[in-house]
């Protein structure tokens, strides 16, 4: 797969169809992959990688590094493609400046799961077939891949690419998932239990803003938390409870636009399950307005920000938008 991608990237660069390539680049560790812009065949040969650690959603990176006067090739996994489609819908990226190649994803490895198992001194990790071999200073260990696959991949919502110019590999389809099971557990709690749960989780937040920086839905020109005029910026610093509200407000801001890509939880250094806040919104939207997947097609109108003559009446919202 990686070789095919490299070949195609070099072809498109050589033909002049694109001048830049956005993909994944190897870092210091095997499991530490970073998004990058490549502009030459040499760079691609040297650094380009696509493996089981390429979890980074390239849509946000593409948004940040977009250049509208030239064409950029970007490789997108299915979940990246949903995020990108949403960004195109919101006019945040120019579709015409992109050449999109959809690539399949068979589940990405969550190194934190390995670390959580007490493994330290990791030298390298290789993934072969269904096995993941971890070589450490203190010996080797092998896991079945599903044991160390990230939660978001185990609960994969779709293997389809809503937007692409070409595909490498086969096009997948929307998956049946149990991704709302965790939400159901939270819903089953009493309000007090739930409050305590979130207070506990959010108390670990160090406000590093990694979630916001990685989130493909967080693309405001100026974030309201950085805008002293918004009246929210200083509030968040008022006390620990207001601090916690940062995440609640952020979840509200991306409600209906969040595609459930799971980047917020992936990048959180404190392992706060932030994606559950967004998933609760998604599950509520599905319940109240009928099933809706953000980023499923360009120009889609989200139920929360839409006005149509067919708008459901408040009295039938509880019936899933059906009279």
């Amino acid at each position: 797969m990686q070789e095919m991608m490299k070949k195609r990237a070099k072809e498109l660069l050589a033909s002049g169809e694109v001048t830049r390539v956005i993909g994944w680049k190897k870092n210091e560790f095997d499991y530490d992959i970073t998004p990058a812009v490549f502009t030459s065949a040499e760079e691609i040969d040297r650094d380009f990688i696509y493996d089981d650690f390429c979890g980074v959603n390239l849509s946000k990176f593409t948004f940040q590094h977009q250049k509208n006067d030239t064409k950029t090739l970007v490789f997108l996994k299915p979940c990246d493609s949903y995020s990108m489609t949403q960004l195109i819908t919101e006019h945040r990226v120019d579709r015409n400046a992109l050449y999109i190649i959809g690539v399949p994803s068979y589940g990405k490895i969550d190194v934190e799961k390995i670390k959580a198992d007490g493994v330290t001194g990791i030298l390298s990790i290789t993934s072969e077939g269904g096995d993941v071999h971890v070589h450490t200073l203190y010996g080797d260990k092998t896991y079945a891949k599903y044991e160390v696959t990230s939660e978001r991949c185990l609960n994969c919502k779709s293997k389809m690419h809503p937007t692409y110019d070409e595909l490498i590999g086969f096009e997948g389809e929307v998956m049946e998932t149990e991704r709302f099971d965790e939400v159901a557990k939270l819903e089953a709690m009493t309000p007090e239990e739930r409050f305590e749960f979130w207070r506990g989780e959010l108390s670990r937040c160090i406000r590093c803003n990694a979630c916001r920086n990685a989130c493909p839905a967080c693309t405001c020109e100026t974030c309201i938390f950085d805008n002293n005029d918004s009246g929210v910026a200083q509030k968040a610093a008022a006390d620990s409870f207001e601090e916690n509200m940062f995440h609640i407000i952020r979840a509200f801001h991306v409600a209906g636009r969040c595609t459930d890509c799971g980047e917020c939880s992936r990048v959180c250094p404190q392992h706060i399950p932030l994606h559950l806040l967004n998933r609760k919104f998604i599950s509520d939207i599905n319940k109240f307005y009928g099933d809706y997947q953000a980023g499923a097609e360009i120009g889609q109108r989200a139920p929360l920000v839409n006005f149509t003559k067919e708008d459901v009446e408040p009295d039938i919202v509880a019936k899933g938008g059906k009279a």
Binding site: T89, E90, H91, R92, T219, C220, E221, T222, C223, I224, N227, D229, S230, G231, V232, H253, V254, R257, R301, A302, L304, V305, N306, F307, K309, D311, D315
Partner: protein, 663 residues
Amino acid sequence: MQKIGVFVCHCGTNIAGTVDVKAVAEALGKEPGVVFSAEYPYMCSEAGQNLIKNAIKDYGLTGIVVCSCSPRMHEATFRKTAAAAGLNSYMVEIANIREQCSWIHKDIKVATEKAIVLGRTAIAKVALNTPLTASSSPVVKRALVIGGGIAGIQTALDIADAGYEVDIVEKEPTIGGKMAQIDKTFPTLDCAACILTPKMVDCAQNEKIHIYSYSEVESVKGFVGNFTVSIKKKARYVDETKCTGCGLCTEKCPMKKTPNLFNLGLDNRSAIYIPFAQAIPKVATIDADYCNMLKNGKCGVCSKVCAAGAIDYKQKDQIIEEKYGAIVVATGFNPIKLDGYDEFAYNESPDVVTSLELERLMNAAGPNGGTLLRPSDKTHPKTIVFVQCVGSRDTTDCGKPYCSKICCMYTAKHAMLIRDKYPDTEVYVFYIDVRTPGKNFDEFYRRAVEEYGVHYIKGMVGKVMPQPDGKLLVRAADLIMNEQVMINADMVVLAAAIEPDKTARPLATMLTASMDTNDFFTEAHPKLRPVESPTAGIFLSGVCQGPKDIPETVAQASAAAAKVIGLLAKDKLLSNPCVAHSDENLCNGCSSCERVCPYGAISYVDKEFRMPDRTTKIRRVASVNAAVCQGCGACTVACPSGAMDLSGFSNKQIMAEVDAICR
């Protein structure tokens, strides 16, 4: 520096009865920025207003808070008061301590505490108010009436009479509506057509009135005084300007088996038709579902016989755009579908009919030329049972919770007419209550019982069972005699509930006019503004607002016309300065605001921005058309970056209010 004045109204005992107004005035006097605080028995009285005016002058107030009734009642009053004292009228905030406080609380302590919080909230808001100036917009001197029944006709005639242009949009090929289908009218028993058709002719002949028949409203844009409406003129396949209404085509058309909708499908007509003899406009229409020429290109008889050459099989729907200053909704009603009432065997037996069908069966232009015959075997019915409240005052899912209001009277009318014309026919009426409020209404009903010997039985019909001999066995309860009654009837007539026309709900959305849960349009005030919608420039006429009979409909139609004339008589309207605006530096251009805007007030422009790194970038940003914006605020909450804000209700002000409540 802010100098805020607080004025607490007693409203007699309305507020002072449950709120310690002195304590409220005292507490609010200590709020930051407040330099004057007073209470007074009636702040809206001249003396109360003078108190405000003097305080503004004496203390140099920069903003005032009036703690009183709902802003819907007196906000305009106090804005004028402020303006008279030289203060910008948008530096006024109302704290509603009556409807939202004193009226709903019994405990003085609790109510007083809440009144203080509400006052504090308004003070926090007024401190951030900025002076606003209303601009003015011209009024288009033309009205649109949607619906050409008796309500729409009367409204149009009255508006035209005042000298203004008025257009009627009617979805059927002719105006006239339900009244045209009715045989006789209560309580005078005069013929409906005899009193309606002269008004229809007046409409057609009035040069100020233009009728768009067989047309529907497609979209509505704009605001009071300046609506732009797209009207879809449906293809009738006949050129209206050429057709003379001679009717030759309807005679020659071979497709004679087309259900006659004007007679509610009780008989057939041809595929090309004129609904009834007095139709306005008297122009033929082709029913595309039945016409052979339109379906498979074989026939063309009408085109051959038409001397005027009016037939045009290639006619297409046409969209007409027109500007109006005011819009009147007169969309009327329909009887409900009776699918949920199997017990009355409506779908099983042709001899079970609705009251409107009975009107057609008894009408001279109806299927039997005015002789009442059973639909099944065309014999004279000897026993007729009327069932009242079929679907009215019915809280189950298939019924309507409200009283349809007209059924008691028209059933008495039917019973009386039948007894008068066919004295050998026994007539039974099953009722829950007989409701006859109206001039000469009870006398009318008494006549049915006392002079015409109609059998009124209090009780409900449980089941209608069609018998093999063609009779209908009716099982019912007589609640007064407390016994079960069995009647062998020849016909059963169901007084089906009425409901607003199905086109009303989508129309309400287009007009952003509110409706109740039964799809009746809501009035601006149920008692004091009964013919206006809460949406400025939209007026209500007839049953679209609630069940009513013909006299009431006509009265309301004229009332709506009076309101329209009052509006059209103005040359300019002051526009609301509380409109949205976008901070282009913050705007992402994401389209969220545009998508929630019910008025289409938001568009996007590409603008060049200087970026922090000294490059320039072309960005898509929102731009609000202030003339179209109605200040609903939907965009401000949809905007993820807080770029969209509403004058007079800024995000900061709302935040300050919330903070004041939570303090």
